[in-house]
């Protein structure tokens, strides 16, 4: 009984810490995005709230919190209030299987405890894919329940886009799964220890560089970010599926989008760039400092994740939005064949040169 209690307390603490870090990162990202975009466009970004605008996320959060919560006339109230949660929960729940640091086991009050992964389940990546698909429901239902043309169009676009690009995400990571021989993100990360040429993006027998490119592009599309932000294209659809949302419900959609960005960045880092592994073994704490391994490992993981997040902003500052038929053609006629070909070649290579 005591053991269960300790286990529960440890898990809840871990979940709280991970959620806190993710939400803080989201807060930071909203500011960082505006700042980086501004700097890339020779602007300053937010400058008014606090020194150099660093308190802007706090002001935004407060504003959203105190805004009136409007439900449009004719909206389906139940689904309208359900949709933001349906978008947010799957985005946050995926972090349960991400390994943020080395696979250590600590014994606390006689309970085995892994501090850097909430739960190491053996179908980790499948679990994440399943839940991100549920996130699409939130978007579609939010668009439909608003009783607005723009929202419905945004929701429909989003449905088509998320489904077609999720396919590419799923197929792109199959190559990695073939090489790693596991669906667990912890095992996949462990298979990439050592030098950077063991990372699956460069790894022999067949480097997953094509899969990586397909994954990154599809991930941008799946999180509805520019240049694939057709579901919320403000010049065409006002704000797409969350046109009618205000206050905290809008904030939930916003949180979901940024949490999804962090999630896909974490997956990309864990699958292709070696997760918490350093490019070279001597760049981690080792030898007499081996007990600090977790510190350098989490820092390496954060560096990789932030590189991807920066890439999101960078792409947004650079590229214009695609047309809808271009988006679909690119997804089905270019990305899908590349991903399929990658699976074929990787399978042959993994069969001919087993580890």
């Amino acid at each position: 009984m005591v053991e269960v209690g300790v286990k529960l307390a440890l898990s809840l603490t871990q979940i709280a810490v991970v959620m806190g870090v993710v939400l803080l990162t989201v807060m930071f990202l909203t500011l960082a995005e505006r700042k980086v975009l501004g700097w890339m466009q020779d602007r300053m970004g937010p400058m008014e709230v606090g020194p150099y605008g660093i308190l802007q996320p706090v002001a935004d959060g407060l504003k959203l919190f105190f805004k009136e919560d409007i439900v449009p006339a004719g909206a389906n109230k139940f689904l309208f209030s359900m949709a933001p949660l349906l978008a947010l929960v799957p985005a946050l729940i995926g972090f349960a299987v991400i390994p943020f640091g080395p696979d250590l086991t600590v014994e606390v009050f006689g309970v085995q405890f892994k501090p850097f992964v909430i739960s190491d389940i053996n179908v980790g990546i499948l679990y994440i894919l399943a839940f991100t698909s549920i996130g699409a429901y939130g978007i579609i239902l939010g668009g439909w329940a608003s009783n607005s043309k723009y929202s419905l169009l945004g929701g429909l676009r989003s449905a088509a886009q998320v489904i077609s690009y999720e396919l590419n995400v799923g197929l792109a990571i199959v190559g990695v799964l073939l090489l790693a021989g596991s669906l667990s993100l912890v095992k996949i990360t462990e298979a990439q220890t050592g030098w950077f040429w063991n990372w699956f993006i460069f790894a022999p027998p067949f480097p997953q560089i094509f899969a990586f490119v397909v994954y990154v592009i599809s991930a941008v599309a799946e999180t509805n970010r520019l240049p694939f932000d057709l579901p919320e294209a403000e010049s065409e659809l006002v704000a797409g599926f969350f046109t009618e949302y205000s206050g905290m419900r809008f904030a939930f959609f916003f949180l979901a989008e940024y949490a999804n960005m962090i999630l896909v960045s974490c997956i990309a880092a864990a699958l292709f760039l070696g997760g918490w592994n350093a490019p070279a073994p001597f760049l981690q704490f080792h030898g007499s400092l081996a007990h600090l391994l977790w510190l350098s490992a989490t820092i390496w993981f954060a560096v990789k994740v932030y590189f991807f997040l920066f890439l999101f902003f960078w792409l947004r500052a650079t590229l214009p939005r695609l047309r809808y038929d271009q988006l679909m053609r690119f997804g089905w006629k270019v990305m899908l064949p590349i991903a399929l070909g990658n699976i074929l070649i990787t399978a042959i290579a993994a069969y001919l040169f087993p580890k």
Partner: protein
Amino acid sequence: MLAKFKTWLKTIIFYEILVGMNATLRHLLHYKPITLQYPHEKRTLPDSYRGMLSLLRYDDGIEKCVGCDLCEAACPSRVIKVISAEVPGEPTKRYAKEYYMDMTRCLFCGLCVQACPVDALGMTREYEWAVYDKRHLYLNKEQLLAIGDRAFPVREKRLELQHPNVAFFNVAFTHLPPKNS
């Protein structure tokens, strides 16, 4: 054949996108914002800046305006309304008994200033005239004189005390004929 291969290679490695991303990254690294943080810092106005209109006085505090209505005639937007009257006790002199400017319609062309024969109108360098009620932009004579008082602290002498040429031709300083030398 080689050219075709080159374009194909460029497509494969996303050459155009990389060029664009290089451009944005260069702007990020050599960050030189062109933003002016407006309420905190203001740009230097050009010398001939045409801002808020105002009525002026002579250095002894008498209004310059003689109520001739020429500004009203010159105004393309019908901003100005002048009601002129005799100066009490001085039948040869006139002045503007009431003077209104509807600044919601003003387009700051400066034609009234050019039209004024006694330089009674001036364009200040004020431009922060946002108000909550547009009726606050319907200015009367006292308000216009107050703007002139705070914008032009140095006032001209009365016309008859100025240089005889200026007084004789009765023209504004800006329209003095060039000197022959």
